[in-house]
Symmetry: none
Subunit: 215 residues, 4 copies
DNA sequence: TATGAATGAGGCTTCATTCAT
DNA sequence: GATGAATGAAGCCTCATTCAT
């Protein structure tokens, strides 16, 4: 319908276009409610082509997850590495990139993070893997900071705990961001860091919060 | 599960049982993948009863959301109120209750928080309403703390920001909790408070984090 | 819901009330689309009572047909008999009664005349019987007129032919009547008689119409 | 029925075949009692094709009505136009064609004329429209005759009245025809014209029938 | 390479009918 | 005499997937 005249595209390009379409539809409807017809139409080709290229609806979904989780992890990692030399700088840069990514690629984030748990075995596995890999990148960065801080007692488990809190907060804040347009990723990051970095730092120095006594 | 020869229950009771079953199935499969047959079977009755009492699959879902979101909000609120007189005590008690609830009623939490966005109009509306009401309860508590702290400049928007971060972190941490059994809600809360309360407090006193300069 | 306080009615009365309700619903929705629940509710009793009294949905329908077809035939017959001594007078009176009946008891007429043909064996039979009996009454009257007119050659077949034309025209005119309110049964009859009585009379006297030659 | 190994027909053809089948089943069972499975089977294809091409059961029915009402109106109109130059000739030709059509396409006639009134909004509208358009064609012809006859006082309303009577009589006579096989459309028309044309003519010349005085 | 035509399987919903009280 | 609770059976519709060209 659109003016996509059907040029003969090389397989690779065509495949990416299909995944683009699939990502859009999956994010809009969720895995089950998504309909392959719509994906094919959006990609500007016929359904059999979709099956020829990606094999099945499940295949489509897995391809989306795989591509986007890699993209997100890479974005985060690259930004962190380029961000500076101290853990603080790196975390700042990484989180900013994270917010920017989520804001810009809402589709990808929804597909990665808001799918009903069940679905097929293959999908569950792929999703778990994707989430784990993202969490690992974040936890890695956090871990550096903690370790470097000098409290070697803190281990992987703590880093993972912190990473979960960070990612969860960031995720939830994207919803807040949606209702407060005009917030830049930088400002979001500042807000988040305000809340969490200090806590993280204090954890390092042993300044630990304890439950208040009831009067 | 046990005495499946139940018969002729009064409408009210049956209805709650059906919602119990629906909650379980919806949380396990997600809205679309859930199948009404399974819900009926789990509730120990035939499908027509489900439709007689709840009207439709959508009606089932809405009933679940409504009941559980009220339950969660009430749990949080009650615990907070009974938790003490200072904001810190209340937040502590509320969050602990939150973790306990989510740990115990995994089903409810999944249904409230992990559904694909689209679905029907009615469902979207109900979900949005539910989430807003939970967030409001948390934000209310946070707001008290912040206001009381003396920086009256901080307004609703900040409280909402913090609430999002808190709830998001808590949500994400429940996943962590699942992979680290044996963690009590209290320990989870301590961990989370370690990370966030200090930050919140610092925010109050004006000790604001700023992005590090790149070297 | 209405203020029908559930007095204990004698079986007969109750039965008639149920048939009233059934007639209403069947005429509004047609046999298949009609729902027993609605009939029960309209009758102000519970569904099992309906089954106790009339046995089945089919039984309900048959009862309606039987009662109303007898009522219509009787109305027509009585009016004709009381209408005068000549066939013309009688036909006039009968048709007027017919139009009055159809106008007043739209429900009955729809149920008798506008049902899809198939349905169950019992219903088909009952409907056929009902229609035949009505047609017979009309044909009887017509036959008298014709016979009396002196052309003994005209037999049952012709009377039946005329009766069909009459009843069909009358039926169709009830639709016209609906779109032109304010028409009395008398005026309808005059209009119809204008068109058909003359023709009938001419038939008697042998003045027969023949197809025009194409020029 | 015969060569059931048909495959891969172009959409247009298949669509007509499906409508053929639908017409048959709808006429046999009525709208509600008709079952889409049966239609599909009769059309020699699977149910999804039916839905792909016609959209819904309602869509099927509407398609039937639309096609057949146009066909009937066209048949009548064409025959009338080709029938001669005088209104009488035209009416004769039109009615003969009408009887022939109804005799030959019993299905179509039943679907057009014998459906329970309620049904869905779309169906009611379509049916009303169809019936009105047929009646309009007949009324047009009748109107010509009347007007030409010289009594200009007779207007649309009278033509419509006459048209209703004519169509109703004709409809009813098709039932008679069914029970008296071997009657040609011409003979049916002669019989009907015998009864009604004279009346119509008399109406023109002002010879009006009046109710007999009761003695 | 590309697609119009086709379907098996399965899910939501409704209804006539019957128990058990 | 009366009814609230319950269900087997069936119908509409959709969708992932595959042929045949």
């Amino acid at each position: 319908m659109s003016d996509k005249r059907r040029r003969r595209l090389p397989r690779n390009v065509r495949e990416q276009e299909i995944i683009d379409a699939a990502l859009h539809v999956f994010s809009k409807r969720g895995y089950h409610a998504a309909v392959v017809d719509e994906i094919a139409e959006l990609a500007g080709i016929s359904k059999p082509m979709v099956y020829l290229y990606l094999g099945s609806k499940e295949g489509l979904f897995v391809a989306c997850i795989r591509r986007e989780s890699q993209r997100l992890a890479a974005t985060f990692k690259d930004a962190a590495q380029a961000g500076g030399s101290t853990p603080e700088q790196r975390l700042w840069a990484g989180l900013t990139a994270f917010f920017a990514f989520v804001a810009e690629h809402r589709d990808a984030w929804l597909v990665l993070h808001r799918q009903a748990p069940d679905q097929s075995e293959a999908i569950s596995a792929e999703l778990a893997q994707a989430r784990r890999s993202i969490m690992a990148v974040v936890a890695g960065l956090v871990g550096q900071g903690i370790t470097e801080g000098g409290r070697p007692g803190l281990g992987e488990q703590d880093a993972d705990f912190v990473a979960h809190a960070l990612v969860g907060a960031a995720d939830s804040l994207t919803e807040w961001m949606e209702r407060h347009p005009g917030q830049s990723p930088e400002r979001m990051t500042i807000g988040l860091m305000n809340m969490m970095w200090v806590g993280m730092r204090n954890v390092l120095t042993g300044e630990v919060w304890t439950p208040p006594r009831e009067t």
